[in-house]
């Protein structure tokens, strides 16, 4: 019986199907829990799914690369989904046009504060140089952040982890601090979440309001551009 089960396990884990299934299952579980707890921002479905999957992979001693063979089908959709952000943006174009100058100024200073505050806090805690460089572009969408980190001498794969963790933190803390500040303007709320927490923040903003989602997606794109240009420039000035 035991031999039979491990045979089936060996067979299943060699195909991408198992880890694709587990990825969807873990996310559905996270989503159900999130809904059951009244969609509270502190219960993040991505965080729940990631913790569940890391536990499963650790217990079954499955290497990340084996997991990713299945999960890559989900990961791949990030590209077309980012392209699809053009739709909410198009639907909100009149609003965007009206606040073009506030948008551009906010993204430039938001980008500087996002990288500067991360560097300052990490530096105060005396982290290693590799961690310091890798954490600097943490608010930027994954592919761009990895490129910036590599250019400055950081670890791109560590940067990818910081980016995802930042997205989760931003989506959890962002709405809470905005509520404390009593900011009700959906465009400013979405924009701030997009600058701080890229696509994960945008995913969360999209669930709450289409205006917030559109401004968050716009902020994510503009912040990628601003940080890719500003961070290497400022880095050379300071260090």
């Amino acid at each position: 019986m035991d031999g039979g089960f491990s045979d089936i396990w060996v067979y299943l884990s060699a195909s991408p199907l198992l880890h694709l299934f587990l990825t969807l299952l873990a996310y559905l579980g996270g989503q159900k829990l999130y809904e059951r707890l009244g969609m509270h921002p502190m219960v993040n479905p991505v965080l729940i799914a990631v913790i569940a999957l890391v536990l499963i992979l650790t217990v079954t001693r499955t290497p990340y690369l084996v997991y990713f063979e299945g999960a890559q089908f989900v990961h791949f959709l990030l590209g077309p989904a980012t392209v699809a952000l053009a739709l909410p943006l198009y639907r909100q174009v009149a609003r965007v046009r009206k606040s073009l100058l506030p948008i551009l100024v906010s993204v430039i200073f938001g980008s500087i504060v996002a990288t500067g505050s991360a560097l300052a806090i990490a530096w105060l805690f005396d982290v290693s140089e590799a961690t310091l460089i890798s954490i600097a572009p943490k608010s930027v969408t994954t592919p761009v952040a990895m490129g910036i980190s590599e250019k400055l001498g950081g670890l791109p794969s560590l940067t990818a982890v910081f980016v995802i963790l930042t997205g989760i933190m931003g989506a959890m803390i962002g709405p809470l601090v905005l509520n404390i500040l009593r900011i009700k303007d959906w465009s400013a709320r979405g924009f701030a979440i997009g600058v701080a927490a890229h696509g994960i923040g945008t995913a969360r903003a999209m669930q709450v309001s289409e205006v917030a989602g559109a401004f968050s997606g716009l902020a994510m794109g503009l912040n990628a551009l601003a940080t890719a240009i500003l961070l290497p420039l400022l880095w050379n000035l300071i260090f």
Binding site: V74, L78, P102, F109, T131, A160, S187, R204
Partner: protein, 118 residues
């Protein structure tokens, strides 16, 4: 539906080609987003099938970050060593960035007489 998927993938592909040709430090999909946005502006409307596929993708955007997030297991030992500094930087900086950016934008919109509750 196939047409809409082809359109999204086509914009993504064009974005990647643009990055490869220019060497700009931008992600291909963000350029693809600009290309699709320009197309929609030119056309002056969103075809139903494109709206259907895009809205489905965007409703489930969170799911798409799970595989990359699980990559945290590759760096657990490094993060364990510097967890305090890393956690403080990620949480602190996220809160500071959201507060700063939101207040700046609300302030600038008020300055340009747009009204904060737009």
């Amino acid at each position: 539906m196939i047409g809409a998927i082809t359109l999204l993938l086509g914009c993504h592909l064009l974005g990647e080609l643009f990055i490869a040709a220019t060497g700009l430090p931008l992600p291909g999909p963000v350029v693809g987003m600009v290309i699709l946005f320009t197309g929609l502006m030119t056309r002056g409307g969103v075809p139903d099938s494109v709206a259907q596929v895009s809205d489905t993708l965007l409703r489930n955007l969170s799911l798409l970050f799970v595989p990359a997030g699980v990559g945290v297991m590759l760096h657990l030992s490094l993060i364990e060593k510097e967890w305090l500094g890393v956690t403080a930087a990620l949480i602190g900086s996220s809160a500071i960035t959201v507060i700063f950016t939101a207040l700046l934008m609300v302030g600038l919109k008020k300055l340009s007489h747009l009204g904060a509750n737009d």
